[in-house]
Every structure is written in structure tokens, then in C-alpha cells.
């Protein structure tokens, strides 16, 4: 039954409760870096890395340190959840940024401000908080984080390819850029509602 649970968890996180299109989390990079497919792919990689690690690490800290009766400190520190999660996420993002700047400067330049913004990306914090709320274990949290990131990546890649097409369309001036992007995202969200009830 455990495996069935994982399967449902993954499908749920990718399609049914897609972070971007059903939970509306992480919209900032979703709109910011979806102008071109190749930068979108870079962003997907970064988010996948940060989300998976952040979910796992925060779940570990949550279970072993923060929760009442946790083995390490034996005190209820759950009120520290948000601050600790942010701390961990920020550090991870900083690591990613440093690595990227070193090894792929063009990608770093293309992602620009959106890379540090993963820090305050509600998707990452959201995943951590959701894991904490649902009492997922460390493994399950990491899987959930990864699946969420894949959902994010799916939406982002879809959206980036659509925006490349929109770039060439004769969109009315008042609708150009962000406006039509939001409308497209809205229709995509509508489409993803069709997946309601899957895997669950």
C-alpha cells in the first residue's frame, strides 16, 4: 500500500495539485523566466534541486528538532517553522546561485533576479509547509518536493513553449506581454482542473 501512496502522491503533485496551475504558488519565476525555453529548462533544474533538498532537509529538521517531543531538543519549537524553513531555503538557493555563476554564467545572467527569488518563492516554502502539515516523513517529503518540482517544470516548459509561439502572434497591443501570459496561464489552469480526482 505504501507504493500506491507514493504513486498517488507523485501524480497528485504533478497534475492534480500542480503547484503553479492549481495551487497558484511560485508564479513569480513562472512568469519571469518563461520567455524562452532554454532558460526555462535551467530554471526547472534549479527548482528541482532546491525543492527536493529543501523539502527533505526541512522535513528532517521539523521531525527531529522542531516538533514537540522531537528527539533532539525535547521542546515544542514548531513556532519556529517558517523562520527555519526560510533559512534553509535561502542557504540552498545561495549555493545554487554560486554554483551556477561559476559553471554557467550565461544561464545565471538569463535567470537574473529570479534565481535569488526562488528563496522567497512560495512554491518552495509551500512545499516545506505542506510536508510539515501533512506529517510526511523525510523520504516522502523529498519525493513530494521532487514531484512538485516536476509539476512546476511541466507547467513552466509548456508555458515557455507557448510564449515562444505567442511572441510571433499578432496580439493586440493592450494584451501584449504579461497580460496575454496571465490569460494563457488561466486557460492552462482550467485545463488542469480536468485532472481533478486522479490518483486519489
Amino acid at each position: 500500500m505504501e507504493e500506491q501512496g507514493y504513486f498517488a502522491l507523485i501524480i497528485g503533485a504533478i497534475l492534480v495539485n500542480n503547484f503553479v496551475l492549481t495551487r497558484f504558488l511560485g508564479l513569480c519565476p513562472f512568469f519571469g523566466v518563461s520567455k524562452r525555453l532554454d532558460t526555462a529548462l535551467g530554471m526547472c533544474g534549479a527548482v528541482l534541486f532546491v525543492l527536493t533538498l529543501a523539502s527533505g532537509v526541512t522535513a528532517a529538521i521539523n521531525q527531529h528538532v522542531l516538533l514537540p517531543g522531537a528527539p533532539l531538543l525535547q521542546a515544542d519549537l514548531s513556532y519556529l517553522q517558517t523562520i527555519v524553513f526560510i533559512l534553509v531555503i535561502a542557504s540552498l538557493v545561495q549555493l545554487v546561485e554560486l554554483t551556477m555563476q561559476r559553471f554557467s554564467p550565461p544561464l545565471h545572467r538569463a535567470l537574473g533576479i529570479y534565481l535569488p527569488l526562488i528563496t522567497t518563492n512560495c512554491a518552495v516554502l509551500g512545499a516545506a509547509v505542506l510536508c510539515a502539515q501533512n506529517d510526511y516523513g523525510i523520504m516522502k517529503s523529498a519525493v513530494f518536493g521532487a514531484a512538485s518540482a516536476i509539476g512546476f517544470a511541466l507547467a513552466l516548459i509548456l508555458f515557455a513553449s507557448l510564449r515562444e509561439k505567442l511572441d510571433l502572434a499578432q496580439i493586440p497591443t493592450c494584451m501584449e506581454g504579461a497580460a496575454i501570459a496571465f490569460i494563457t496561464a488561466g486557460i492552462l489552469a482550467m485545463v488542469f482542473m480536468g485532472f481533478a480526482g486522479l490518483g486519489g
Partner: protein, 333 residues
Amino acid sequence: MAEETVKLPNPSSLVVSSSPHIHQPQNARRVMLTVVLALLPACVAGVYFFGWPALRVILVTSIACIAFEAFFCKLFKRPNAIGDFSALLTGILLGMNLSAATPWWVCVIGALLAIGLGKQLYGGLGYNIFNPALVGRVGLLIAFPKLMTTWVTPTPGNFLPDAVTTATPLDLASQGTINADYFNYFVGNMGGCIGETSAAALLLGGVVLVYFGYIRWQVPTAYITTLALITWGVHLANPATTPTPLFHILTGGLMIGAIFMATDMVTSPMTKLGAVVFGIGCGVVTCVIRVWGNYPEGVSFAILFMNALVPLINRYTATRPFGLATRNREANA
């Protein structure tokens, strides 16, 4: 002198343009009009089974779509595009995707969603990403879930029926009741949207379109085959509680979706290979939603989802220029 009688062309009336200087007789207008005509049998079937209310729904959506098209063209200062019949086609398709019991104002909202949101905001015909009629329909489905799933019992030949509500075979199947009444399903004597019920009439239209080459036959073929294969597998695993592939093919919006909606030129891939991939994708997503999802019907969602994938499909199924392979091979050797 003989030369004096020779009339030479007047250079000032000459036109210059890039080659080629001749063109085949067909044009977009004619294509659209043919598709509209190909839809007529299914329309007639819909009116036959659901009575005058069905005709009213189709008329309201068609007129509203044309009106909105004219309005948006004016608003965005574009040349009026009613003449290409694409708005009429969208209107008819939208009407055929609604229940005969749909109130007129819902039809108008659907038309606004379809033409405005689905098409004109993207720049009009050719630039829309999603099938406009389906954007209208899915928008309505999410906004008015109750209204949109109120189906009318078919009353063949009775044109002024009392609207008795019923459920579609797919609704029943998702509740566990499977009626294998294939003949009625085939001719269209079942609950459902106006245009989607009569598989026979839709097939007739599809054959016409494939004959003229106005739709890619690869799309409906791949779509229906994929759906049949997956549902067959599911049925084999669980024969008692799941419907047969034939049931899946004949019920719901599969026929109209596969033949008329998924094949929409603008929102389907450019290449033949792309069309196959697109059809298979539609089939898979439809099955996933029908078999495992909450919604009994997944055709609209599936086609819209695959519409969103079209730019990616186009990118990865782009044709290989003649001679490209040779060069690569040589470069490798």
C-alpha cells in the same frame, strides 16, 4: 502594315509580385465552409433527437460568435474576419458541445469566452493556442457545472419535447451502470451534447473532410486507436465493472472531438508525425480522465491539454530537410 493592328499590353496595368504566379483554386474560406457543411449531418441528427431547443442553442451560439468576432475585430482595429467563416464554425462547434437544455445567456457567455478569450485576444485566426470552441465549453463547464451537466432525454422525431433530464452513458458508467446499447449510441439516441451523440453523422462528415484533405486523418485515427487500446486493456483487466472500448468510442464527445475539434488546423501540429503524436496524446489523456479522474468525460480537457503541447510537438517533430541526413552521416564518417 500588319504591326499596326497588333495590340500590345498596357504596362501601367501590370502587377509585379514574387513567384509563384498561379495558385490552386482552394482557399481558407472554402475550407471553413466545407467543414461547416460536414458538420451539418450531425447538427440535423442533434435536432432530430433533441428537438427545436437544440436548434436554438446552435443558432444562439453561432450568431453570438459572429457578433463577438465582429465586435472584437472592430475593438482591436483589425480587418473584419467574419468572411472567413471561422467564427461561424466556432459557433456551431460550441453549440454542438452544449446540452439542448442550455439557457440562451449561457450560450452567449460561452461564445464570448470562445471568441474573445480563446481567439481574438491572441490575435485572431491563426494565432490562437487553444481551440476556441473548447475554451468556451470548458469555461462554461467550470463556471456552471450544474447547468452544463443537465442532459435532455432524446426524443427522436419529436421536435417540441418536454425537457426530461437524463444522464449520459458515460455518467452512468462512472456511477457503475454500463448499458451496452451500441446501436442507439451509434445513431445518437442517447443523452449528451447536441452534436456529439450521433457517431454515424459525425463519421459521415469526417469521411467528407478526409476525402477533401481538409483534415489530417492521422489525428482521429491515432486518437481513436489509442483510446480503444487503453480502454481495451482496462476492460480486459476488469471486464465486469469497466465498459468495452466500443462503448468508449461511441459515447461522449469522442467522435466530434477526434474528427472536428482535435483536427482544427490552427491548434494541431503542422506535420504528419506531429499529428500522430497529437492524436496519441489526446487518446491517453482522455483515457486517464475518463477512467481514473473525477470527470466522466475528458475529451475537451484532453484536446485543450494537447493544444498546449502543440508548440513543443511542432518543435520536436519538425521535418528534416531533404539531404540533411546525408550530410550528417558524411560528417560522422
